[in-house]
Symmetry: C2
Subunit: 169 residues, 2 copies
């Protein structure tokens, strides 16, 4: 069975591929940086943050969490040569709306005890203040022994209401 | 100090924000699905996979790993109502080029013993065959008790040389 979402992907992709001209880009990002941001549906990193195809790694997870992204960041830096991290969290983030206890209770209620047991030790990494979360994640990356000391790291807040990115740190 | 990458972001974002008209989108994805793909610089998910702003969560990590993304997937489904997963890995992926041992050795060599100790238990989640990795991750998600049984899951291979997405499962 093909879902309407799969059909949309196939038809939009066929259109994209028919006009595709950038098949010779190198594996390592040309501008040697990575963007770490949230999975939020209201963010289009390429358009909003001016990333041309081939220029940067883009890591996205719930909340734009640096801890969650550490594996990818190490691979990006040690195997593919990126030297700068741009961390962008955003206003109206879902991670501001629940606690770890809320999420674990919801999984138990909706999915049952075996699901709850499977993720018993999972930290959902919610946060309560946007600017503090940005500063905290930049600090975490600066303190991590797995991130070289000369990597440039900045932290930004993106406003989903206006499309504006504001540098915090 | 402002880097050239930060300056580029600020100027491109100012242009984006000046034309921004979609400030009223809801937090939950309008089309109730999530895309999970790789952080690779050669992938622009919105353009290549036909995602309009506000329609879908986009999770990206090194390799488009389902295991690595589980926290984000649970949040997407249980707190923000998504019902379908589209997993897209790609040709020429960096994850095909090294082993866990290679990555741990590189961290120790480049960053020293304290970095190696900090990430001693980290699984870098490399893989050796693209189609098998796609099938394996779809299977992992279908077996996970934390992913509801009625969630629609498909797996795709994206060709960075041609811009074409091919459904595998």
């Amino acid at each position: 069975m093909t879902s309407s979402i799969q059909k949309n992907l196939a038809s939009k992709n066929a259109e994209y591929a028919s006009k595709f001209t950038k098949g010779n880009l190198a594996l390592p990002p040309a501008k040697h940086y990575l963007i770490l941001t949230c999975m939020d549906a209201r963010i289009d990193p390429a358009a909003a943050f001016g990333i041309d195809l081939g220029d940067a790694h883009v890591i996205r997870n719930a909340g734009g969490s640096a801890r969650d992204a550490l594996r990818s960041i190490i691979i990006s830096q040690q195997l593919l040569g990126t030297k700068e991290i741009v961390l962008i969290k955003h206003t109206g983030c879902g991670m501001l709306t629940f606690s770890n206890d809320d999420a674990h209770s919801l999984v138990k209620k909706n999915l049952g005890p075996s699901a709850a047991a499977e993720i018993a030790t999972l930290d959902f990494l919610p946060f309560t203040n946007l600017d503090n979360a940005i500063k905290g994640d930049v600090d975490y990356l600066k303190r991590s022994a797995a991130v070289p000391g000369d990597v440039v790291i900045s932290g930004w807040a993106y406003e989903v209401q206006t499309g504006t990115a504001r540098q915090i740190v």
